[in-house]
C-alpha cells in the first residue's frame, strides 16, 4: 500500500456518555503518529476542550460541526488522499460510512485508511457479523435482528425471555436493555428501534451470569496479529462493559480458556480484515451448561462472541494505559501502511510493536456515574451505559488496585468502608435480613453493598449465587473484610500495618478502624507511625514487559514492596495535579489544562511530574510529562509522591539540600484545588495563588469582606443554618432567591425559589443533605450572565476575553451557551468588567488563572453600569481551552510561567483586555440525557451537560448555527414545533411564537399556551398535556415525530415540574431538540433565519482569512 500524503482525521465531537476523553487521547496520539511518518494531517472536531484541536497537534485543525455536509466542504477544500475513520469513536466511524455512502470519498478520490469499509460494515451490522461468525465457526448467542415491533414479538416467542435488546449503530448501547417481562420487552424494544439510526435492533438470548471477557487486538496490513491485553469484567454479562468494574488481565481464566478466546479474537479480526485496533467481547460460561455436550476431554468452556468494535475504543484506551502499549499510535501507523514489526516500541526503545505486553501487576477500572448529581435518576446499571468517565488503579494485589480505584473515584471521599445509612437496618448474622435490606443487583453502589453484606456474615458463595460475580473476586473482598476486622480488633503492629497497606487500605481507613483511644486514631498519626516503621510506598514501573527488558518509561504506580524504581531525579521539577475521572462539572477541559501545564513546565526547563487517575486522558499518556504517577488524587497519595520526589536542586531550593517539589493545583479542577489546603497544612509548597487566596474565594464571609473593601457589588444574600431564618432572609432581599448548600460543586442542589412555600420545602430537604452546613440564600438577579477569565502575575492582570451567556443568569454557566466576544455589552459595561476583574485578581493576590462570573443588569445600558459579581474561582475554568483557542492567548502556558516567577510583561503581555478578535465563537453545552432514565432535562442552576462544542465564524449567526448543529439543537425551517410555556414566560414567548409562525413552522401547544398562540392570531393544534386526557397528547406527537422541536419552560418547583417532565423526557428519548430556555430558542430562531455559515481552519478565523469587511 502506498503511503498517503494528506490524511483527514475525524474526531469524536463532544463528550457524551459512551464517548468521552478516550478519543481525545486516541486522536492526539494518531495525529502525532501520522505526522511522524511525514504525512500532513487535517483534523476535524467540534469539541474545543480537546488537546487534539490545539495548534501543533495536527497540521491543519478545523473546529467545525461533524456533519456530512461540513466534512464534504472540508474535503473539497483540503483534498486529502486518505481518511482515518477509526480513531473518532462511533461518531467518526459513522461519518466515514456516511461519506462513503454519499459518494463523497469517491468523488474526491479519498481512500479510507486502516480497516476497510467492508470490515466496518460487517462488524457493525449485527446480521452480517453473525453470518461471518457462523462462516468461521465461532459461536454466537441465539438471536434475531428485527426492524419492527411485529417482528420483535415473533422472535421473542421463538427465543423466549429473558432477552437482551441491542440497537444497531448507537453509542454505548444507547436505547438497549435486558427485558425480563413482556412489558419490559415492549418498552425497551420500542426505545431501541427509535434510537437506532437504521431502526434495527438485535434481540438475543440473555447471558446473564456469564463472565464477560474482552480482548484488545491489533492487525497490520500484512496480516500480523497480536493481542494487547485481555480484560475481565467483575460484573458478569448483563452490565455494559463501560459500566462494569473491569480487571486486567483476566483473573479467573485458565490458560486454555485464555488462549481459546485469544485465538478466536485473532480469527475474527483476520476474517474481518481489520487493519488497526479492534475490541472483541466474549461471554464465557462460568461452568458447563446443562444438557450440552463438549469435546471428549471435557475441558472446553462454552463461550459466545458478543460483539466487536473495529476501531479504537474506550476499552482500547484502558488497555493502553493498563499495559503501556499505545494502541492508537500503532493503529494510526498501520493505517498509513506500516507493519507491526516496523513500528518501534517506544517504551523499551528497542523492541517493536509486534509483541504482546506482559503485566506484572493488576489493573482495576471503576466507572464514574453521574448519580451523585441526579438523585432522581435510575441507579440501575444494565446494557445501556450510564457512566460519564472512569478511574483506573494499578496494584501488585487485586485488593490494592481495587481500593486505590475506589479512592480515585472521588465521590464524597468514599472508601470501601462507606455504607448507605439505610443498610444499617440490615441485621448482622441474619443473611435473610441482610439480603432484604441490601440491593445486590447491578447499581452504582453494588460494590459497597456486597462489602456490607460480607461484613454482616453473608458468605461470598451466597453472593456469587445471587449476583453471578465470580467467587474469586468475592473471596478477595472477604479478605478485605477480614483485614477490617483485624484492624478493628488488634493492636497496630508493623506487620499488620504492612499487610493492610499491601491490601490497599489508606491511612484514613486504618485510622477509622483503629481504636481512637490508641495512638493510631487519626490519619496523621497512622502516617507518622507508618513512616517511623519504614512502611512507605515503593513505586513500580509500567514497562509492557514485566521487567524482562530495561525500559525508560517514566510511568509508575505505588506498591508496598521493598524495591522502589522511581528514584527521584535531581533538578527543578513541579507536580501537576490532574483532575481525575470525567464527571459532570469537571470534564476534559481540566485535562487539557493539565497537559498544557506539563508542556509549559518542560518549556521552562522544569521537569513535570503528572499525577492522575483517569485512563482516558492525554495527561496520562506516558510521553505527556517527564514522569507519570497513576495514583488516586488524595492527600495521602500526593504526599507520598512528593516525599518520594525529594531531591537536590529543586525549585527554590538552597544549595544541595534535597527538597520536595512544589505542586500546581490550578489546572485539575476542583479535585486539585481541594488538595491545596491539605498539602499546605502538610508543609508542601503550592505554586501560584496561595492557599489563602483560594480560601478567600471559597469562604463567603471573607469574600464578602474583600468585595466590600474593593467596592464591588454582590447580589444581596446571607448564609443561614436554621430553616426559620430562610424566610426572613428571603423576605428581606425579595423573591426570587437562589438557594444552595455551601461548599458544593457544579451547582449541585442549587435552585431558584419564588415563594415561601417552595423555600421551606427546599430547606426541609436540603439541610439534611449538607449535614448542618450553611445554606446560602442570594437574591436571584434576572440579568445577563457574563464570564471572564483572567491571568494575574501580582502586578498586572491580563483578560484574554469577556464571554456573554445566551441564557440569562440562573442557568448554570456550564450549561449555558457562551459567546465570545460579548456582543451585547456597552463599552462602559466592558470597562467596568475589566476594572472589577483587575481589582479582584490583585485584591485576592492571584498568581496564575482566575475565573469570575458576573451578572449585568438589563437596565444598566443608559446610566451607571450595573455589574454584580456572582462567583470567583482562583483556578483554571471550564472556558480556558475555548478562550485560548478563539483568542490565540495560550492561557495555561502563561499561567504556568507566572507560577514559575515570570511576569506577564517578560512573557510579552500587557495587562488589561486582550484585543477583541474579529470573529464570533459560541460554546454550547451537550447533554447525555437520553442515557439517563428518570433524569429531568430542564436547564437550571445545577449543571447537567457532559460536554461542549464550539461554533466559530465571522458572524454571530454563523457561529450559533454551527454550535447548534454540533449540539444537535439545530432547528429546521418549517418543522412543526410543540410549545408548552410557563405562565411567567408567556409575555416573553409572544415574539418567539410569531417568529416560528413567520418561518413557516406549524405550531402545536398545550392548553394554556394554545390560548396564547390563538390570541396572537396564529393557528395552533391543541395537544393534551397529560397522558390519558385526550388525544393527541404530548407523548403522541413527540414519539410519532409529528414535531421536530419542543419548547417547554418550567414554572417553579417539584410538582409543576413534573407536568413538563413527560414532555422533556419523551423529546430527549426521541432525540428531538428540546429547549427549556427561551433565550436558547431566540438564538436558534435568529440563526435559522440567517442559515449560512463558512467552513475553514481555526487559524484562518484568527488570521481573518476571507473576512467580509
Amino acid at each position: 500500500m502506498t503511503k498517503p500524503t494528506k490524511v483527514l482525521i475525524i474526531g469524536s465531537g463532544p463528550i457524551v456518555i459512551g464517548q468521552a476523553a478516550e478519543f481525545d487521547y486516541a486522536g492526539t496520539q494518531a495525529c502525532k503518529s501520522v505526522r511522524e511518518e511525514g504525512v500532513i494531517t487535517v483534523l476535524v472536531n467540534s469539541n474545543p476542550a480537546t488537546i487534539m484541536t490545539d495548534e501543533g497537534i495536527a497540521d491543519i485543525v478545523y473546529i467545525e460541526p461533524l456533519t456530512v455536509e461540513v466534512l464534504e466542504r472540508i474535503i473539497a477544500r483540503e483534498r486529502p488522499d486518505g481518511l482515518l475513520p477509526t480513531l473518532g469513536g462511533q461518531t467518526g466511524l459513522n461519518l466515514a460510512v456516511e461519506l462513503a455512502d454519499a459518494g463523497v470519498l469517491e468523488r474526491y478520490n479519498v481512500r479510507l485508511l486502516g480497516t476497510p469499509l467492508e470490515a466496518i460494515r460487517k462488524a457493525e451490522d449485527r446480521e452480517l457479523f453473525k453470518q461471518l461468525l457462523l462462516e468461521i465457526g465461532e459461536p454466537v448467542p441465539r438471536s434475531a435482528s428485527v426492524s419492527s415491533m411485529e417482528m420483535a414479538w415473533q422472535e421473542a416467542e421463538r427465543l423466549g425471555l429473558p432477552l437482551v435488546v441491542r440497537p444497531a449503530y448507537t453509542l454505548g448501547g444507547t436505547g438497549g436493555g435486558v427485558a425480563n417481562t413482556r412489558e419490559e420487552f415492549a418498552e425497551i424494544c420500542a426505545g431501541g428501534l427509535a434510537a437506532s439510526p437504521i431502526n434495527q435492533v438485535l434481540i438475543e438470548q440473555s447471558l446473564v451470569g456469564w463472565k464477560e471477557i474482552e480482548y484488545e487486538v491489533m492487525r497490520d496490513g500484512a496480516g500480523n496479529c497480536i493481542t494487547v491485553c485481555n480484560m475481565e469484567n467483575l460484573d458478569p454479562m448483563g452490565v455494559h462493559t463501560g459500566d462494569s468494574i473491569v480487571v486486567a488481565p483476566s483473573q479467573t481464566l485458565t490458560d486454555k480458556e485464555y488462549q481459546m478466546l485469544r485465538s478466536a479474537s485473532l480469527k475474527i479480526i483476520r476474517a474481518l480484515g481489520v487493519e488497526g485496533g479492534c475490541n472483541v467481547q466474549f461471554g464465557l460460561a462460568p461452568r458447563p451448561l446443562q444438557g450440552e455436550r463438549y469435546s471428549p476431554d471435557g475441558i472446553n468452556t462454552p463461550y459466545v462472541v458478543i460483539e466487536v468494535n473495529p476501531r479504537v475504543s474506550r476499552s482500547s484506551a484502558l488497555a493502553s494505559k493498563a499495559t503501556g502499549y499505545p494502541i492508537a499510535r500503532v493503529a494510526a501507523k498501520i493505517a498509513v501502511g506500516k507493519r507491526l514489526d516496523e513500528i518501534t516500541n517506544q517504551v523499551t526503545g528497542e523492541s517493536t510493536a509486534a509483541f504482546e505486553p506482559a503485566l506484572d501487576y493488576c489493573v482495576v477500572k471503576i466507572p464514574r456515574w453521574p448519580f451523585d448529581k441526579f438523585a432522581g435518576g435510575d441507579r440501575t446499571i444494565n446494557t445501556q451505559m450510564k457512566a460519564t468517565g472512569e478511574v483506573m488503579a494499578i496494584g501488585r494485589t487485586f485488593e490494592a488496585a481495587l481500593q486505590k480505584a475506589v479512592r480515585s473515584w472521588e465521590v464524597g471521599g468514599r472508601s470501601l468502608l462507606w455504607e448507605d445509612p439505610a443498610w444499617r437496618l440490615a441485621e448482622a448474622d441474619s443473611p435473610a435480613s441482610v439480603l432484604d435490606h441490601l440491593h445486590l443487583g447491578p447499581t452504582d453502589q453494588r460494590l459497597w453493598a456486597v462489602m456490607a453484606a460480607l461484613r454482616r456474615g453473608v458468605t461470598g458463595r451466597d453472593i456469587a449465587l445471587r449476583t453471578g460475580i465470580d467467587l474469586w473476586f468475592l473471596s478477595k473482598l472477604e479478605k478485605l473484610v477480614a483485614m477490617e476486622r483485624r484492624l478493628l480488633g488488634e493492636p497496630l503492629t508493623p506487620v499488620l500495618m504492612r499487610d493492610a497497606k499491601r491490601l490497599g487500605f489508606s491511612d484514613d481507613q486504618i485510622a477509622q478502624l483503629g481504636d481512637s483511644s490508641r495512638t493510631e486514631g487519626l490519619p496523621e498519626r497512622v502516617r507518622a507511625l507508618r513512616k517511623e516503621w519504614g512502611i512507605v510506598p515503593a513505586y513500580k514501573m509500567v514497562d509492557t514487559c514485566a521487567a524482562e527488558f530495561s525500559a525508560a518509561t517514566p510511568y509508575f504506580y505505588s506498591s508496598y514492596e521493598p524495591e522502589n524504581e522511581a528514584l527521584p531525579e535531581p533538578g527543578p521539577k513541579a507536580v501537576v495535579i490532574g483532575s481525575g475521572p470525567i464527571r459532570i462539572g469537571q470534564g476534559i477541559e481540566f485535562d487539557y489544562c493539565s497537559v498544557h501545564a506539563a508542556w509549559a513546565l518542560d518549556e521552562a526547563g522544569v521537569k513535570s511530574v503528572m499525577v492522575n487517575s483517569n485512563p482516558e486522558t492525554v495527561s496520562t499518556d506516558f510521553d505527556t510529562s517527564d514522569r507519570l504517577y497513576f495514583e488516586p488524587l488524595d492527600e495521602e497519595s500526593l504526599r507520598n509522591i512528593l516525599e518520594n520526589e525529594e531531591a537536590p536542586g529543586g525549585l527554590g531550593a538552597q544549595g544541595d539540600h534535597p527538597s520536595m517539589p512544589p505542586s500546581i493545583v490550578q489546572f485539575g479542577g476542583q479535585t486539585a484545588i481541594n488538595l491545596a489546603g491539605p498539602l499546605d497544612r502538610a508543609g508542601q509548597a503550592i505554586l501560584g495563588s496561595s492557599v489563602d487566596s483560594i480560601d478567600l474565594a471559597e469562604d463567603r464571609r471573607r469574600f464578602e469582606g474583600l468585595m466590600d473593601h474593593l467596592g464591588i457589588p454582590q447580589p444581596p444574600g446571607a448564609a443561614i443554618t436554621v430553616t426559620g431564618d430562610a424566610v426572613k432572609v428571603a423576605e428581606a432581599i425579595g423573591y426570587p432567591v437562589l438557594v444552595r448548600p455551601s461548599y458544593v460543586l457544579g451547582g449541585r442542589a442549587m435552585e431558584i425559589v419564588h415563594n415561601d412555600a417552595d423555600l421551606i420545602e427546599y430547606m426541609n430537604n436540603a439541610v439534611g443533605i449538607s449535614e448542618g452546613r450553611p445554606i446560602l440564600i442570594d437574591k436571584y438577579l434576572d440579568g445577563k450572565e457574563v464570564e471572564v477569565d483572567a491571568l494575574c502575575d501580582g502586578e498586572r492582570v491580563l483578560i484574554p476575553g469577556v464571554m456573554e451567556h445566551i441564557e440569562r443568569a440562573g442557568v448554570h454557566s456550564g450549561d449555558s451557551m457562551a459567546v465570545y466576544p460579548a456582543l451585547n455589552l456597552s463599552v462602559r459595561e466592558v470597562e467596568t468588567l475589566v476594572d472589577y476583574t483587575t481589582r479582584i485578581a490583585l485584591g485576592m493576590r492571584v498568581r496564575g488563572l482566575m475565573n469570575v462570573q458576573y451578572v449585568v443588569m438589563a437596565e444598566s445600558g443608559a446610566g451607571e453600569p450595573q455589574v454584580l459579581v456572582l462567583e470567583v474561582n482562583p483556578r483554571a475554568s471550564r472556558t480556558v481551552p475555548f478562550l485560548s483557542k478563539v483568542t490565540g492567548v495560550p492561557m495555561v502556558r502563561i499561567a504556568t510561567h507566572i507560577m514559575l516567577g515570570r511576569s506577564l510583561q517578560s512573557q510579552g503581555y500587557d495587562g488589561g483586555l486582550w484585543k477583541r478578535q474579529r470573529l464570533v465563537a459560541v460554546k454550547a453545552p451537550v447533554f447525555s440525557m437520553a442515557k439517563l432514565m428518570g433524569v429531568d432535562t430542564y436547564l437550571g442552576p445545577e449543571m447537567k451537560s457532559t460536554g461542549e462544542v464550539m461554533g466559530i465564524d465571522y458572524t454571530f449567526e454563523g457561529a450559533v448555527i454551527k454550535a447548534l448543529l454540533s449540539s444537535n439543537l439545530a432547528l429546521r425551517t418549517g418543522d412543526p414545533v410543540l410549545l408548552s410555556i410557563a405562565d411567567r414566560d408567556k409575555e416573553e414567548a409572544k415574539a418567539i411564537i410569531t417568529a416560528f409562525h413567520n418561518l413557516g413552522s406549524p405550531l402545536y401547544a398545550t392548553e394554556g399556551t394554545a390560548r396564547l398562540v390563538e390570541s396572537l392570531g396564529v393557528p395552533v393544534r391543541l395537544v393534551a398535556m397529560k397522558i390519558g386526557e385526550g388525544h393527541p397528547d404530548v407523548v403522541d406527537v413527540i414519539r410519532g415525530r409529528e414535531v421536530g422541536a419542543v419548547v417547554n419552560t418550567i414554572t417553579g418547583r417539584r410538582n409543576p415540574l413534573r407536568d413538563g417532565f413527560e414532555i422533556r423526557r419523551t423529546a430527549t428519548e426521541a432525540r428531538i431538540p428540546c429547549f427549556t430556555s427561551l433565550d436558547t430558542v431566540r438564538a436558534a430562531l435568529h440563526s435559522l433565519a440567517y442559515g449560512d455559515y463558512r467552513v475553514q481552519p481555526l487559524r484562518d478565523y484568527l488570521a481573518g482569512v476571507d473576512r467580509p469587511e
Binding site: P249, R262, S263, D341, A354, F355, A358, W472, K540
Partner: protein
C-alpha cells in the same frame, strides 16, 4: 520468624517471604517466566527440571489446579516463587489449591516476595543459582548452595525422559500406539510436553514417545514416517548421545524409502542445530514467556510464540546445507532452521503452546505435510 522462608541467590541476595508448598529445601537455577496464565503447565513442563521458577505475574493459583493441565506426569520445577498464591481458587475444573498441590507433590514454594525486584536482578545480573530455605543463616544457606551441583553441568534430560517407549491415544498415554494406517511419528523424549503428543494425535498421527537415549537403530526399527526431537531441559552441549542420534536420523529414510522428515522443538532444535554443525550458547537470562515475537524470514510474518529456553543456537558454523528461517524480534537470536535439501525443520519456540498462544500450531502442519509426503 519461624514461619518465614527465604529465597537466596548465589550472589548473596536474599528475599524474605512465606512458604506455601512443601517444607523442603531446594536449590536450582532461578529463572523467571512472564506468562500471565498457565502456571500448572509451567510447573509440569520437564524443561524446567533443575530450576526454581519465578512467575512475574503477581497473582498465581487463581483457578486452582485441575486434571487437564498437566504437561507431564510430575511437577518438574525444583521450587516455585510467586508474589501471591491464591488460597481460594475459583474454577469449575479446579480440584485443589496450588499450595496443596505443591505440598502433595513435595515441591517447596515461597510467596510474598518482591518478584519484580527479583526479576530485575536476574535481568541485570544474568541467571544465578538460588535456594529456597528457612531456619538457617544466610552464610549457611550460601555454603549449602555452593555444594550443590551446578545447573550448567548437569544432564537433566536423562532424569526427565521416559524410561520406556509409550504411545498416545484418546488424550492419554498408552502402552503402545496402534498404527492402523496412520502416519507414524516417533517423538524422542528429551523432556516432552504432552501437548505435542495431543496435537500430533489430533492431527491423525500414530505417536510413539521414546527415551532420549534410544539408539538410532531402535528408532528406525519403529518404522517412523517422521521423527520429532522434543523440547527438554539444560545445556545441549552436554547431550552428545542426542546429537549423535540426530545426526544419524539426518541420513535416514522412511519405510517408503524417502528421506526421513524431522522436526525439532526447543532443545530438539538445539540438538539438531549441533548435529548440523552449529554451536549453542547460554543466554543471559533466557526466554521464558508467552509473548515472544518471532519473524519468519521468508514471508516477513511475525508470530507471537511461547518460549522456554536458556540456551540458543549460534548459526555461524551451521552447515551450508541448512539455513536460518526465523529470528527473535526481541534479541535477534535464531528461532528456526531448515535443511535446504532434506525435509527437516526446527524451531526454538513452542508450537505446542500450553501455556501460551496457539498461533504456531501450523508448524506441525508443515512437518506433517513432509511426513505425509
Amino acid at each position: 520468624m519461624a514461619d518465614n522462608a527465604y529465597l537466596i541467590l548465589s550472589d548473596g541476595t536474599s528475599f524474605e517471604g512465606e512458604p506455601f508448598g512443601a517444607p523442603a529445601w531446594a536449590s536450582g537455577e532461578v529463572v523467571f517466566n512472564t506468562s500471565m496464565t498457565g502456571y500448572q503447565e509451567v510447573l509440569t513442563d520437564p524443561s524446567y527440571a533443575g530450576q526454581i521458577v519465578v512467575m512475574t505475574y503477581p497473582l498465581i493459583g487463581n483457578y486452582g489446579v485441575n486434571e487437564h493441565d498437566f504437561e507431564s506426569r510430575a511437577v518438574q520445577v525444583r521450587g516455585f516463587v510467586v508474589r501471591e498464591a491464591c488460597d481460594e481458587p475459583s474454577h469449575w475444573l479446579s480440584t485443589s489449591t496450588l499450595g496443596d498441590f505443591l505440598k502433595a507433590r513435595g515441591i517447596p514454594a515461597i510467596q510474598g516476595i518482591d518478584t519484580r525486584a527479583l526479576t530485575r536482578r536476574t535481568r541485570t545480573q544474568g541467571v544465578m543459582m538460588g535456594a529456597l530455605t528457612n531456619g538457617e543463616t544466610l552464610p549457611q544457606a550460601l555454603d549449602r548452595l555452593e555444594s550443590q551441583p551446578a545447573y550448567d553441568g548437569t544432564d537433566f534430560v536423562r532424569t526427565v525422559s521416559t524410561n520406556a517407549p509409550y504411545g498416545w491415544e484418546r488424550n492419554r498415554p498408552v502402552m503402545r500406539a496402534r498404527i492402523g494406517g496412520k502416519p507414524h511419528v516417533v517423538v524422542v523424549d528429551f523432556g516432552l510436553k504432552y501437548n505435542i503428543l495431543r496435537i500430533l494425535a489430533e492431527k491423525g498421527c500414530a505417536v510413539t514417545a521414546v527415551p532420549a537415549t534410544t539408539q538410532l537403530e531402535q528408532v528406525l526399527a519403529l518404522r517412523p514416517d517422521g521423527v520429532l526431537l522434543s523440547p527438554g531441559p539444560g545445556d545441549p552441549a552436554l547431550l552428545e548421545y542426542a546429537v549423535e542420534l540426530a545426526g544419524g536420523l539426518l541420513g535416514a529414510t522412511t519405510p517408503g524409502g524417502k528421506p526421513l522428515p524431522m522436526m525439532g522443538i526447543c532443545l530438539g532444535h538445539q540438538v539438531l542445530a549441533r548435529a548440523l554443525g552449529a554451536d549453542t550458547f547460554k543466554l543471559k537470562f533466557g526466554h521464558r514467556g508467552a509473548n515472544h515475537p518471532v519473524q519468519e524470514l521468508a514471508s516477513g510474518e511475525v508470530h507471537i510464540t511461547s518460549q522456554n529456553h536458556g540456551y540458543a543456537v549460534d548459526a555461524a558454523r551451521l552447515t551450508k546445507e541448512a539455513e536460518v528461517t526465523h529470528l527473535s524480534l526481541n534479541d535477534g537470536t535464531v528461532e528456526g532452521l531448515r535443511h535446504r535439501r532434506l525435509p527437516v525443520l526446527s524451531i526454538q519456540y513452542h508450537s505446542e503452546a500450553s501455556p501460551g498462544p496457539r498461533d504456531n500450531v501450523y508448524i506441525f502442519d508443515r512437518f506433517l505435510e513432509m511426513v505425509r509426503g
